[in-house]
């Protein structure tokens, strides 16, 4: 009897392929991966978005026999990937505007339907700003119509392309260039936030999942699953941004993992509005551990720190843990 494999061998979850059989290898470790977003692009070192997008698109390509059309919102991913005459995209790719990736993808999907090309699939992608803010209405429309589109949000928790400004996905207390860490209430406000995976679930679409670049096997698996389903699908990927978060390039994966292990970024899957899988926290960490290595939260630490804010953020993590049942043994 073989022992079920767990990907704990290294802290990053990133290695471990050598222990797997051919059929379990990640898409990225296969020699026939498509390199859909190939090297040479202009992302910052350690960019979580570049990493996430490469895994997502290669997995989507692997799942569709290389028949993917990608639509991109304006944002870092779009800008760093197409410094024309160079393009990093090795698949048909289109960028139109900041807020319309979802409806452009809808247009692609329906054109393919009219042409009887059901074998070709569409993936739309955008940053958190393009998704939760300016593209929110159109995205909701795409969900509501259940158009045959996989929409992927790369959440780096701010408008990075324009130089790090607050978005509807910026976490409380985070410093951005429009939520400076000065004054009576430093950093982003403690508002409701806009939890798009939950909002997507409320549309009752066939598939919603969250994922993180700290668990790339899981990310690939979710893309693969999403591509096996027809209709509107939503994947929300946490992608740390060294520039905007003020973090070390080599700590991108670690940060993504701490976000999950602290309970601030729950990882789960839902079908037709009901949660079907959640990833248990393996070793819970206090939010401090995640926050203190990020310059955007520096004002919360040190002699002039802000315990009250840290407690409030811990409370958010605790609420997530309770709501999603993130503690306990893996199911």
């Amino acid at each position: 009897m073989s022992t079920p494999l767990k990907f704990y061998q290294v802290g990053s979850f990133a290695v471990g392929n050598r222990l797997l059989g051919d059929d379990q290898l990640s898409v990225q470790s296969r020699s026939d991966r498509t390199n859909s977003l190939t090297s040479g692009h202009r992302a910052c070192q350690g960019c979580g978005e570049a990493l996430g997008a490469r895994y997502v698109m290669d997995a989507a390509m692997a799942a569709t026999d290389g028949k993917v059309i990608a639509v991109n919102a304006t944002g870092c991913l779009e800008v760093f990937s197409t410094p024309y005459p160079e393009t990093s995209w090795r698949l048909p790719w289109m960028h139109s505007l900041f807020g319309n990736a979802a409806p452009v993808a809808t247009g692609v999907a329906f054109a393919l339907k009219a042409q009887g090309r059901s074998d070709i699939r569409v993936v739309a992608q955008g940053g958190d700003g393009g998704t939760v803010d300016i593209g929110f209405g159109p995205l909701s429309g795409m969900f509501e119509r259940n158009d045959d589109v996989l929409y992927v949000c790369y959440d780096n928790e701010a408008y990075m392309n324009t130089g790090v400004q607050r978005s509807g996905a910026t976490p409380p207390a985070a410093r951005t260039n429009t939520t400076h860490a000065v004054g009576a209430n430093p950093g982003a406000s403690f508002t409701q936030g806009k939890n798009l995976p939950k909002i997507a679930m409320a549309h009752g679409i066939p598939y919603v999942a969250t994922a993180s670049v700290s668990d790339l096997h899981d990310l690939e698996a979710k893309v693969t699953k999403a591509m096996s389903i027809r209709g509107a699908r939503y994947l929300h990927v946490l992608v740390p941004c060294p520039l905007g978060w003020g973090t070390r390039s080599e700590e991108t994966i670690k940060l993504a993992r701490l976000a999950t292990e602290s309970g601030l970024f729950p990882i789960y899957e839902a079908e037709y509005g009901t949660i079907t899988e959640r990833k248990k926290i393996r070793k819970q960490v206090p939010v401090d551990e995640y926050l203190q290595i990020q310059k955007r939260f520096a004002h919360l630490f040190g002699p002039k720190g802000n315990r009250e804010y840290l407690n409030a953020i811990q409370a958010i993590a605790d609420r997530n843990i309770a709501e999603f049942g993130l503690l306990g043994d893996a199911e």
């Binding site: 993917v68 197409t82 048909p92 289109m94 809808t106 009887g116 119509r145």
Partner: protein
């Protein structure tokens, strides 16, 4: 086939005969009847495998059209007024990308104040969006121009707006010869896109372009517009051969303009759209009285047929441009283009803003314009049938008190109390 049919319905059936692959729409008066009819035609299987998509906003309507057109599908949408403004960002995007989308604009005023009735300030606001703009003078041409529009758009890889006056045309019942699909097929070949999203031959579309090539990309957009000035006459001729009528309607000249008694005309009225009907009646009236009046319509406003306009107007003594929109703070929009066409020629020209927000343009008012133009009492810029007293009373109220209240509501209250 000749039939008694509503303008919107005639347009819908003509668009259907063009066999679009994708139609997307968001409702707004007075465009609604067009897309309602297209929904029904799609469901009845009258448009092959056409996909009809009800989107959640005009911004998405044009965005869906962009994605669809870039995937090689013949794509159509329609809008008006606030809807056109709501989609401005993707409207510019579509022309910048060179996507041959065809869109009907059922011309309607722009708020505030909110007003559902006809004028042309909506499409005029997009005159420099890079789209070709064709204006229909009646319902037959409104329908026919769509066939021309698809052919033109696809030949040039440039989007085309067909502008038809809201209600006056969209909701009018008339006898129309709705083009037979077999004839349309003869005129409109299968769509062969210049650029297409295709896994077999992957391309990137929509990359950032910096100073090194931006001017050239924009120049090519301009170049294509100028090319359209050559192609529209050719296509119009071909259209006439296939359908035995001109796409631009009565008095059409090469699909670019319409000319009515221009040969010896001393006073020429210039306009776009349905008002040309009234204007021609006024011309007839004056001709009966021995006045050498004439009329010129502009079918292709973008590209603007500078040469044709110049040739048509250079012998006139007085020109009156009747405009259903204007440029606040300056004056006429169409007239400034006509001035460009007539540069170096000294002809007296007056701009009259008429029919804003659905105000009727009467034969009487148009006829008077000719008299006034002849006797030199028509100012360079004026508003037809402006209720001067109503305006003056509001200006007085403004002087009396700082907090004079909302302007539009004041005017209505004033009118209601009289």
């Amino acid at each position: 086939m000749l039939q008694q049919i509503e303008g919107s319905k005639a347009v819908a059936e003509t668009v259907a005969a063009c066999m679009p692959d994708v139609v997307c729409a968001y409702p707004i008066s007075p465009q609604t009847h067009i897309v309602e009819a297209l929904d029904e035609l799609t469901r009845l299987g009258k448009i092959g495998n056409c996909q009809f998509i009800n989107v959640e906003s005009e911004f998405s309507a044009m965005s869906v059209a962009i994605g669809s057109s870039a995937t090689g599908a013949r794509t159509y949408t329609a809008t008006a007024s606030q809807g056109l403004l709501f989609m401005v960002e993707p409207v510019y995007n579509a022309s910048g990308l060179g996507l041959p989308i065809v869109m009907t604009v059922a011309n309607r005023a722009i708020g505030s104040p909110i007003n559902i009735w006809n004028d042309q300030s909506d499409s005029m606001s997009q005159r420099d969006s890079g789209w070709i703009q064709l204006y229909a003078q009646d319902n037959q041409s409104a329908a026919d121009l769509h066939i021309l529009a698809f052919r033109l758009a696809e030949e040039l890889s440039l989007p085309v707006m067909v502008c038809m006056d809201g209600f006056i045309l969209t909701h009018a019942m008339e006898e129309i010869d709705v083009a037979e699909p077999e004839l349309v097929q003869k005129f409109l070949p299968k769509f062969t896109p210049r650029q297409v999203l295709d896994p077999q031959d992957p391309v990137s579309i929509g990359a950032m372009v910096g100073p090194e090539a931006f001017t050239e990309v924009k120049y090519l957009g301009h170049f294509k517009q100028l090319k359209a000035l050559e192609i529209i006459p050719e296509l119009s001729q071909e259209f006439e051969k296939v359908f035995a009528r001109s796409a631009g309607g009565p008095d059409d000249y090469k699909g670019l303009v319409t000319k009515y008694h221009l040969e010896d005309a001393e006073v020429v009225l210039v306009a776009l759209g349905s008002v040309l009907g009234t204007i021609k009646d006024a011309v007839d009236e004056h001709r009966k009285n021995g006045v050498k009046a004439g009329a010129m319509g502009i079918t292709s406003f973008r590209p603007f047929p500078l040469d044709e306009v110049r040739k048509s107007l250079k012998h006139a003594q007085k020109i009156v441009v009747v405009e259903r929109a204007f440029a606040p703070g300056v004056g006429g929009i169409v007239s400034s283009n006509i001035r460009t066409a007539l540069s170096g020629i000294d002809i007296k020209m007056s701009t009259v803003v008429a029919g804003l927000g659905g105000r009727p343009i009467t034969l009487k008012s148009i006829s008077e314009l000719v008299d006034k133009a002849l006797y030199g009492s028509l100012p360079e810029f004026s508003f037809m049938d402006l209720d001067v007293e109503l305006v003056e009373r509001e200006l007085e109220r403004n002087l009396l008190t700082r907090r004079s209240g909302p302007m539009a509501e004041n005017l209505l209250k004033d009118l209601g109390s009289r």
